[in-house]
């Protein structure tokens, strides 16, 4: 069948018309095709080929002549021609200046780290267009955060953050997280490094996660009311790949935590929870499997999968032996512990562990609102035993966060080691595609210069993280650093060392 279609009143140059005509002939089912302006010679040419040209054709119209057997081919050809003749041919990719430039649902996730007032607007726009949001930005009020999260929930979108540093969705790491193997545990975390650690430990024990849904650090504060955590709990209850849910957070508002635990009670799937700093009274009366540190939470998840008590970290004997060896190397006069942590949750977990394992140890810290230590006069100088949260605002106001650029902590490490009373330094290394490419080797020359001080480093990372977890551990051990698997283990080992040191120093 031969038919001629008109694109009325359109101008296209002759070279483009010829190019498009050739492309049309390559469409399946097309026996012949021509493309040209409605000029006399072109009309005559088409008539000569046996086409009937519409009477209302003018020289300003484009004629598309198609010879094909099937009706639907004509439609295909017309749609294709219309598209080719309308679009730019550059293949230049679209430029976006903000979410307004995006089509509905054009992306799965909009990741936001621009200043607060603008971040809020863009997040709402993204939700209106049916896209999930991950927000690293933190300068948004708690009330605004609450309203934003309610809006996201009511539109069925994920709202990860504000103040979220870690996420893992569909196998993709958001911001500072780690790539972790796929498995049956779904993690919902108000603590970034905490969720990351739990996920990485689960991977280390041979399993994996469906996702890490970061809620941002303030989700469980009263004005926010746990909206994201509860929405995510519902979501993971629906998610067919998630068999076990794990909630990770620091201790937060009592009422909000209660609500969260009550919601968890309504689920069919088992829930493990770690609210760092909580005592057993928090979990009492609820279905959740309550745990008290990150390693324990990871182990509890794995136990639900395998039904066995998994093995990770040092045994008590191994720890004691190692602690003895360390103390033996320390000269008299070496007295103090210095911890320098990038993960706020790691710092908190360590402080808690020290308090539990070495209750007589007087600890100082720059962290606010902790029951386990005394506030340092200045964050710039350690006193006695000190545990520094170098991710705290005091430090990040002056320099990039250590997780992105280790420089600040390298200087602090050097500073601690130059103090003749420092016996033991503990640090946490965090891996992941979005953080410093080389987070560890910068400490090693310094460690090598100071065999008289013990350095313990815990590594939080997945086996697929680009920095190469095993390679890093090996290099650190070769430099004389003691490498452990988790922040909890680091704190256990360090408190064991400090107890023995204390005992020796008093002999």
């Amino acid at each position: 069948m031969k038919e001629v279609f008109l694109l009325k009143n359109r101008y296209v140059d002759s070279v483009t018309l010829m190019t498009v005509a050739v492309e049309l002939t390559e469409i399946g089912g097309v026996d012949g095709a021509e493309c040209g302006m409605g000029t006399r010679p072109n009309i005559d040419m088409l008539k000569g080929l046996g086409y009937e040209v519409p009477a209302d054709v003018t020289q300003n119209d484009i004629m598309i002549a198609v010879d094909a057997a099937e009706e639907k081919t004509f439609r295909e050809v017309c749609d294709f021609a219309e598209k080719e003749l309308s679009a730019g041919h550059s293949g230049r990719s679209k430029t976006y200046h903000d979410v307004d430039d995006m089509d509905d649902g054009e992306f799965d996730i909009v990741q936001i780290s621009i200043p607060g007032e603008y971040a809020l607007k863009e997040a709402y726009k993204a939700i209106d267009k049916g896209m999930h949001v991950f927000m690293f930005t933190a300068d948004i009020s708690l009330e605004e955060e609450h309203d934003l999260k309610v809006y996201a929930r009511d539109h069925g979108c994920l709202m990860m953050g504000p103040d979220a540093g870690v996420g893992l969705v569909g196998g993709l790491c958001m911001a500072a997280g780690s790539i972790v193997d796929f498995g049956p545990v779904g993690i919902i975390g108000a603590s970034g490094s905490g969720s990351q650690e739990v996920a990485c430990l689960i991977e280390q024990m041979g399993y994996g996660v469906t996702c890490i849904l970061g809620t941002g650090g303030r989700d469980l504060k009263k004005p926010v009311g746990g909206v994201s955590m509860m929405a995510d709990i519902d979501r993971l209850e629906q998610d067919e790949d998630t068999k076990i849910i794990c909630l990770v957070s620091m201790l937060a508002d009592r009422g909000v935590m209660e609500e969260v635990l009550k919601k968890a009670d309504t689920l069919t799937k088992p829930v493990v929870a770690v609210f760092l700093g909580a005592g057993p009274e928090l979990y009492e009366g609820h279905k959740v499997i309550g745990t008290y540190d990150l390693t324990e939470a990871a182990k509890a998840c794995v136990k639900l999968i395998t039904d066995e008590e998994p093995d990770i970290g040092l045994t008590d004997e191994e720890r004691e032996k190692l602690a003895d060896e360390c103390v033996a190397k320390l000269a008299p006069g070496r007295k103090y512990f210095r911890g320098i942590y990038t993960g706020g949750t790691f710092a908190e977990e360590a402080l808690m562990t020290f308090r539990k394992e070495a209750p007589d140890m007087l600890m100082h810290t720059n962290r606010d609102n902790t029951e386990y230590a005394v506030r340092l006069k200045s964050h710039k100088k350690s006193e006695g035993n000190s545990l520094i949260d170098i991710g705290d605002l005091d430090f990040t106001a002056e320099a990039p966060h250590t997780v992105f650029d280790p420089t600040q902590r390298v200087l602090r490490y050097r500073q601690e080691l130059s103090d003749p009373e420092t016996a033991l330094v503990a640090m946490d290394i965090i891996l992941g595609p979005g953080v410093a490419a080389d987070p560890a080797s910068c400490y090693l020359p310094i460690a090598r210069e100071h065999p008289d001080v013990i350095t313990v480093i815990s590594v939080c990372g997945g086996k697929w993280d680009p920095q190469g977890k095993d390679k890093i551990k090996k290099e650190m051990r070769e430099a004389g650093v003691i490498v452990v698997e988790s922040d909890h283990e680091s704190a256990m080992l360090c408190s064991a060392i400090m107890k023995k040191l204390e005992a020796r120093n008093h002999e």
């Binding site: 430039d101 995006m102 992306f107 996730i109 780290s113 979108c157 569909g170 993709l172 996702c211 790949d241």
Partner: protein, 64 residues
């Protein structure tokens, strides 16, 4: 006014099961990380918008 319909939440959008596509507004390092992980992603060329009067900002919120 149908109250029931107002309160019913929209269908929960499913969790992406494959590497999701991402539009990144802000820190370039995060965009680089998305690229290396193989996400179909774009770096949004965001600049702080022009400071408008409060009145104009409100009108734009209402009509744009």
């Amino acid at each position: 006014m149908n109250d029931i319909n107002e309160k019913r939440p929209a269908a929960v959008k499913p969790l992406p099961k494959e590497i999701p596509s991402v539009a990144n507004l802000g820190i370039m390092m995060f965009y680089d990380a998305l690229v290396t992980q193989g996400s179909k992603c774009v770096q949004v060329e965001w600049v702080p918008p022009v400071k408008q009067s409060a009145e104009i900002t409100e009108l734009l919120d209402e009509f744009l």
